[in-house]
Symmetry: C3
Subunit: 314 residues, 3 copies
């Protein structure tokens, strides 16, 4: 049974804890390498610095060979389907594949038909499980728990891959999630309006202020906001940071629009975990790759890892 990593929704709580445990071990210097030469490929159909590079580093830390794949110079230009591209890579010996694609749930046409694990590096406006997992790791490192935490997700919720999957998984893990930002950008079909808060209240109450990127490239109309207006109305300004509780932290999936979602001078302030999140990204991706590669030969024990995390909390 292949361990794909498609959405956090599909991960059981024990699986989440296992990935986090392995990620923490990698952060602490654990070595894990496959016994023989193994190959990965990163298929990014959308621009990305951080996710792609982060996977690259994770793959090489695991001693994997990374086959370069540039969409612009590939047969995708000749109209090849995603299935045929993946099947080709499988045929030439690629053992696991990371895909970012602008189509929601692109992986539905692959799962069950390909024989190598797929790690979702982001699909459409849908999911971005390694981003969720690195957020979880960052929160867990800070607080040692999820239960009882209040987490504010602020900004462009409708277009964010992160917002919905984080909201779901954080709730399952025992945290309370609230939202803020422009009401027009709030998707009340899938999220409860009762959890929506005015911006100052959200920032004052929460243990984690999780800002979302304003995705200029996805907004056809930006609403009536200039960057400056957005910052004043919904951004983490220098003034609003002073409302935050002692010990509460700032997170952002990056790339940051400085002085839009967050004041320039706060990006690297004492509360900010923004670059810590990037660091953690490598470790959760190492853990995700390990989990997928191990599934190629079977044999995976969630319970053991789960109890271990419980015993040795950070």
């Amino acid at each position: 049974m292949l361990n794909h990593l498609l959405t956090t929704n599909e991960l059981k709580v024990e699986e989440i804890y296992q990935i986090l445990t392995d990620a923490r071990k990698f952060a602490d210097g654990m070595k894990w390498k496959p016994e023989s030469q193994m190959f990965t490929a990163n298929l990014f159909f959308e621009p990305s610095t951080r996710t792609k590079s982060s996977f690259e580093v994770a793959e090489r830390r695991l001693g994997l060979e990374v086959i370069p794949f540039e969409v612009l110079t590939s047969s995708v230009q000749k109209g090849e389907t995603l299935y045929d591209t993946v099947k080709t890579l499988e045929s030439i010996g690629v053992n696991a594949i990371v895909i970012r694609h602008d189509q929601d749930r692109y992986f539905d046409e692959l799962v069950g038909k390909v024989n190598i694990p797929i790690i979702n590096g982001g699909d459409g406006c849908g999911h971005h499980p390694t981003q969720s997992l690195l957020d979880l790791l960052t929160i867990y490192q800070e607080f040692g728990r999820f239960a009882g935490l209040k987490i504010a997700i602020i900004g462009d919720i409708r277009h964010s891959r992160v917002a919905r999957s984080n909201a779901d998984v954080l709730t399952r893990l025992g945290a309370e999630v609230i939202y803020s930002g422009p009401e027009d950008w709030f998707d009340n079909r899938s999220l409860s309006l009762s959890r929506f808060r005015p911006i100052d209240e959200a920032i004052r109450e929460s243990d984690v202020v999780m800002l979302l990127r304003v995705q200029h490239e996805r907004h056809q109309q930006k609403g009536n906001f200039t960057a400056n207006e957005y910052h004043k109305q919904y951004g983490l300004t220098i003034e609003r940071e002073k409302l935050m509780k002692p010990g509460s932290i700032i997170m952002h999936p990056a790339p940051v629009n400085r002085n839009v979602e967050i004041a320039d001078s706060l990006v690297e302030c004492g509360r900010s975990r923004i670059f810590k999140q990037m660091e953690n990204g490598v470790f959760v991706r190492m853990a995700a790759l390990k989990r997928s590669l191990e599934s190629l030969k079977g044999g995976n024990n969630y319970e053991a890892a789960y109890s271990e995390l419980k015993l040795h909390s950070i």
Copy 2:
């Protein structure tokens, strides 16, 4: 004496058998690595998923360092000649180079002037020797011989790199080659019209049905065909597959235009060797690279390999 790999026409029968022998050994797990660190580069002036990735995997399986080279971001953009680009790579320590280029026989301006072996990854409408070799390996694995086989090459023969070089080499190896497809796309200047067959007859008679890709990107005018008409008149439809002899196989160099050259459901049917061909591509490329790299120090023994294949046929 450098062992370039430029065209199959220039390979002696013994050389072909040596490459196939090495490829079979690599498929069986043979390890071969150069004693010291060696460098390759893949210069692809045309889009490619499968050939480029296949070379990448082959190179890394041999423990070679692969220097990335993207035409779009290179000095080729500043008008540098191919010769100067190759000479540059030679100067910085690249030991062997793979080139795909849209100009027929681009390598004529290189051979004799550069001191590193060139492996042709496809030139213009001309040659694609590693594709021919992987086709040969796939046929040999299936039948254990070439003599007495009847092979139908069907489709866009005029624009196919594969058609002419395969026809030549298969004939030299003792097989009988016939053609089918749109008559307008048949190049009667270089191929005998007496070998042209109606599509159903070609499919009924042959041991190997080798379909060629309709190269939309090369056809200025597609003739009068819609995709659907092409499929009905010249494609391997579900009905035509039933005409095939027991034990005969389907091949295609890919990427496949599903429901044009071949019915979607036949791409992975029991007769299809399409993904097997891709697998074999890695092994023949490993063998071709080994042959070229070994020529850097001299010492290559075709006869030995040749007799070995004869003794231990599959």
Copy 3:
């Protein structure tokens, strides 16, 4: 204290000699590898074959992992600043970074704010220190000294990254630098007009004829020259080469415009060190990377290396 490599002007003479000493040792087969896995990235915001590939080879010879970074497919497309891009790469574990950027002194916004060494692969019309260093190595290999040599820099001086930094560093090392080429392309604000010579005189007098590339892509107006006129008036023609002193050499940073800066048949003539320069590029880049990576743990002794070079001159 991080050892960036930003401009040759900022390098002390002892530092230059240390880099050249290490480069010569690498040319002679010295092995140096970091004790644990280390990561680099090459950020090229302008096209380049030779510099980028040369760094790639240098990095792999040192056993470094190279994280691919293509500007076209990165978050730079989403408007990310250079600082945030570099900080991201630092966060995910990149240990040293090579940057080419079209903005003069792009590195001023990075130095002091990032914790990994930056190696300048060329900035705007400003600096290109590894190119200067490879020129120095090539001259030193030839003459065993700089003092007393006369070096003519000929061509597009105003737009050349190489001209000004080479002029400065060669003068500091004891050589005499003169200039020639179109007077309109001579920048008399920063360079002394008294060192300007007519082309034939410059070629006749000098030990090193250093030709600069006519940078078509930077010239809005090319002046009144056709390629042919430029060659006749300011190029190294077959006739002018005959004026050169015995033992004097030809250099060019490449890519060469054949029959513009230099006659086609002279590119690989006995006096030409053009491809030797490329070879040397790998060795000085290995030395520069070693110097930067060693600075991550401190401990660098210029004086020792300096005396060593003095003792064992080539």
